[in-house]
């Protein structure tokens, strides 16, 4: 038979042709844009290299610094400070948002009308208002409205609220801290072993062997060792107090207003979403599982712990991962309240040096790396908890 169809409609050539067309068009567009950008940069006299990162930053970052930094350090160190600040708020935010979100999610399913509806109202309010508005409310209408430092509002003599930040008692490591740390780690390992052993005994004999009680007992007993060794507590607590000049706090730990508002806003906003995810996850466990657990005579707390949660976990983890990613990305809004995270620092450098393309590229690379690492980690965790089917 003679093939009458022209060659560009044949099964072999059509896809190749289409893709070629696509690549050529995309290439032309890309070339046009890049060419424009390059000529534009040349006209403005801005080179496209990263050499400027080594020049002196000459701006200071006040307050939140996890590593030493001063105005004489290069730009690259300032970026590092920003990156650490992003990670700090993201990690703390994820931790607190998970705790609050799980509590709210379980409260949404409570059989207590008041608890259920309080949680519902909380979730609705914080989910339906923009994060940036929340952050700005916390910053400019709450934390900056606190009294001046010399007439700080003092709570229980230990926590100072002022518009320069919130000062809380904090731990200071002493020489005994490391001995304590090693002993606690050993005690926990020991407790787990004892717990497993008692549990095994319990399943074998069918009699109560109180594994949890044993584990707690072992841990407590093991705590006596470092106490005898060092005859001191694990750390030293420093109390905050206002410096005599009335400008700053001494001792304790000062949470800056911008950090506090970013953290609180992120935690409240994300926990509202996590609450819905947890609720959906728990409701997603099929009813038969619950009924079977009841028919087997399990207590309701045991049912929750051993039947519902492990299964709900599998439903919860993928959307939870995307919420963690959202929280990390949303931490970039901190630029609006002056918390020196990567976008804020990057923006300052961008305005100072005019290297827009380079700085935006650096920001994008930082976020992509963090996002990819988070999703990688969560995917591994996800695989670990998924049901091994067939």
């Amino acid at each position: 038979m003679n093939n009458t169809a022209p060659f560009w409609r044949s099964r072999r050539f059509k896809p190749v042709l289409l893709q070629l067309l696509f690549v050529v068009i995309a290439g032309i567009c890309l070339f046009y844009f890049i060419n424009n950008a390059l000529t534009g940069l040349k006209r403005l006299g801005l080179p496209l290299d990263f050499g400027f990162l080594q020049s002196t930053a000459s701006f200071d970052i006040s307050g939140d610094k996890l590593i030493d930094y001063s105005a004489t350090d290069p730009y690259s160190r300032a970026i590092l400070v920003g990156l650490f600040n992003t990670l700090r708020v993201a990690v703390l935010g994820i931790m607190f948002a998970t705790i609050l979100g799980v509590i709210l999610g379980i409260a949404r399913l409570s059989n207590n009308w008041l608890v259920r509806n309080t949680s519902k109202v909380f979730v609705e309010i914080f989910r339906n208002t923009p994060l940036l508005v929340q952050m700005i409310i916390w910053f400019s209408a709450v934390f900056l409205m606190l009294p001046l430092i010399e007439n700080s509002y003092v709570f229980a003599g230990t926590v100072f609220f002022s518009n320069r930040g919130i000062a809380i008692p904090w731990f200071q490591t002493t020489s005994a801290t490391w001995i304590w740390l090693v002993c606690v780690a050993t005690a926990i390992l020991l407790a787990i072993t004892v717990w497993k052993w008692r549990l095994k005994l319990q399943t074998e004999t069918g009699k109560r062997k109180y594994p949890s009680l044993w584990a707690v007992g072992v841990t407590a007993a093991a705590m006596i060792v470092p106490l005898l060794l060092t005859s001191a507590g694990p750390f030293h607590v420093t109390m905050p107090e206002v410096n005599p000049n009335g400008r700053s706090f001494a001792g304790g730990f000062v949470i800056s207003p911008s950090f506090a508002s970013v953290l609180i806003a992120l935690v409240m906003y994300t926990s509202a979403f996590i609450a819905e995810i947890v609720r959906a996850g728990i409701m997603g466990v099929s009813k038969g599982q619950l009924e079977a657990a009841q028919a087997l005579g399990l207590k309701s707390s045991t049912t929750l712990r051993l039947v519902v949660f492990p299964q709900a976990f599998r439903i919860i983890i993928p959307p939870l991962t995307s919420q963690y990613l959202n929280l990390t990305k949303n931490s970039s809004l901190a630029v609006a309240v002056g918390y020196p995270e990567i976008v804020h620092v990057g923006n300052t450098i961008l305005n100072q040096s005019g290297r827009a393309i380079q700085m935006i590229t650096i920001m994008i690379i930082c976020y992509l790396t963090v996002s990819l690492l988070t999703s990688l980690f969560m995917n591994i965790f996800n695989k670990y908890t998924q049901l091994a089917e067939r």
Binding site: P15, L18, Q19, F22, V23, A26, F33, I34, N36, A37, T39, G40, L41, S110, N111, N112, W113, L114, V115, T118, E124, I125, R127, N128, T129, P130, L131, L132, V133, Q134, I136, I137, S140, A141, V142, L144, M145, L325, K329, N330, S332, L333, V335, A336, V343, N347, L350, A356, I357, I360, M363, I364, Y367, L368, S371, L372
Partner: protein, 400 residues
């Protein structure tokens, strides 16, 4: 059948369902004090909520000074839009309420609720004492056509006209607001406040829709060049925060476009929001595409459809229907995210509130201003999420 049901009823004693004891005490006992722990929670929470409400109410009613909002209401809602041309904005609202009225008459259910919500907003505007007379007259007219439209829509066969008008509403609104030389021109630099917020959100979602659908189709394409391009684009955009995309739009788009093409701030932000939203929309649409059983593809191939015809007439209509609730959710997210344009110096409702807060006459009134902004967003977002939940139920998406 054979056996008469009534006969069976006669022979067997039908047990009545036990009557529920629906007294207040019983309800309280069941819902608040059913166990030790519940009683504890109820009491603790009651005390906490009592003090919280006391503080909030006394602040809202007595300490707060709401004049800062009422004085700047026009600025917050319409920005620097010239007062002489404000009638155009009202005309847009008028047209919108006309269409909403007709639609809520024609399609019952969710549309009626939306109409009610819209009527409520207009009525609220009429009830507020500090709203200008011009605004009140326009809003009264809008409310009137909304109600008339509702009853008209029930009677008249206008379905196609109304659908077509909805499609036309967006270009008409843009024409009215900007003027384009026929009416006196109002540049986008004068658009601001909540008007700009709404426009940004609507433009982003409308423009990103075709882009998102194309990306979703591309991601499922068998052609590797197209597929990997779409995958890279989607994953790249989803991996970075919106604010960096807005920076790109503000600082790098002018460079890419070269000399000769001048775009102003608001348009650049719209481009950024569209590119951002398209990636998320694409993932939603992909979810819909994946829910189409392969029988649909096979059947349309068997009927001799070519791939483009099959995609547009068989697959997409079903896929898009399945993702409507998710897309409403996406719209809510974009709507909230428009506030980020404040960071790149565009004066939307939040930016306007920040500017007003700097006004020396109204120092220290940040709480009132930003709470007002939050409340505006809360009202619209709750309404939309309610709509999304209703659509989910009426389309039966969640049950599959």
């Amino acid at each position: 059948m054979g056996v008469n049901q009534a006969d069976i009823m006669k022979e067997t004693t039908v047990l009545q369902a036990p009557k529920k004891n629906r007294t207040v005490q019983k309800w309280l006992k069941d819902n608040m004090f059913s166990s030790w722990l519940n009683t504890f929670f109820t009491i603790a929470l009651t005390i906490l909520l009592f003090f919280l409400f006391k503080v909030i109410l006394s602040w809202v009613l007595f300490s707060a000074d709401w004049t800062v909002v009422s004085v700047h209401l026009k600025l917050l809602l319409a920005g620097q839009y010239p007062n002489a041309e404000l009638w155009r904005v009202f005309l847009c609202i008028f047209l919108l309420s006309l269409l909403t009225g007709f639609s809520s008459g024609i399609w019952n259910g969710t549309m009626t609720q939306l109409g009610l919500f819209f009527a409520g907003l207009l009525a609220l505007c009429l009830a507020l004492p500090f709203v200008s007379v011009e605004a009140k007259i326009w809003n009264a007219a809008s409310l009137l056509v909304l109600v008339c439209g509702y009853f008209g829509g029930k009677k008249l066969p206008l379905k196609k006209t109304v659908l077509f008008s909805w499609l036309m509403l967006f270009p008409v609104t843009i024409f009215l607001l900007s003027g384009f030389g026929i009416l006196p021109k109002v540049g986008t630099n004068l658009w601001g406040g909540f008007l700009l917020t709404l426009l940004l959100a609507v433009v982003a979602i409308v423009a990103s829709f075709p882009l998102g659908v194309l990306l979703a189709l591309g991601r499922r394409s068998r052609l590797p060049a197209i597929k990997y391009f779409c995958v890279c684009y989607i994953e790249f955009i989803r991996g970075i925060p919106l604010i960096t995309i807005l920076y790109v739009a503000q600082l790098m788009v002018p460079l890419f476009l070269g000399q000769g093409i001048e775009l102003n701030n608001a348009v650049r932000a719209m481009i950024g929001m569209t590119l951002f939203s398209a990636a998320y929309l694409a993932e939603n649409v992909r979810g819909g595409l994946q829910s189409i059983p392969s029988g649909q593809y096979e059947a349309s191939h068997a009927l001799g459809f070519s791939t483009p015809l099959m995609t547009f007439f068989i697959i997409l209509p079903q896929a898009l229907r399945a993702v409507i609730p998710a897309m409403v959710g996406q719209f809510i997210a974009i709507f909230k995210d428009t506030t980020l344009v404040t960071i790149v110096g565009i004066i939307d409702i939040l930016g306007m509130a920040q500017n007003v807060a700097k006004n020396p006459t109204f120092l220290g009134k940040e709480m009132e201003l930003f709470l007002f902004v939050a409340a505006v967003f809360f009202v619209f977002c709750s309404m939309l999420s309610y709509v999304s939940r209703r659509l989910e139920r009426s389309l039966g998406v969640g049950e599959r």
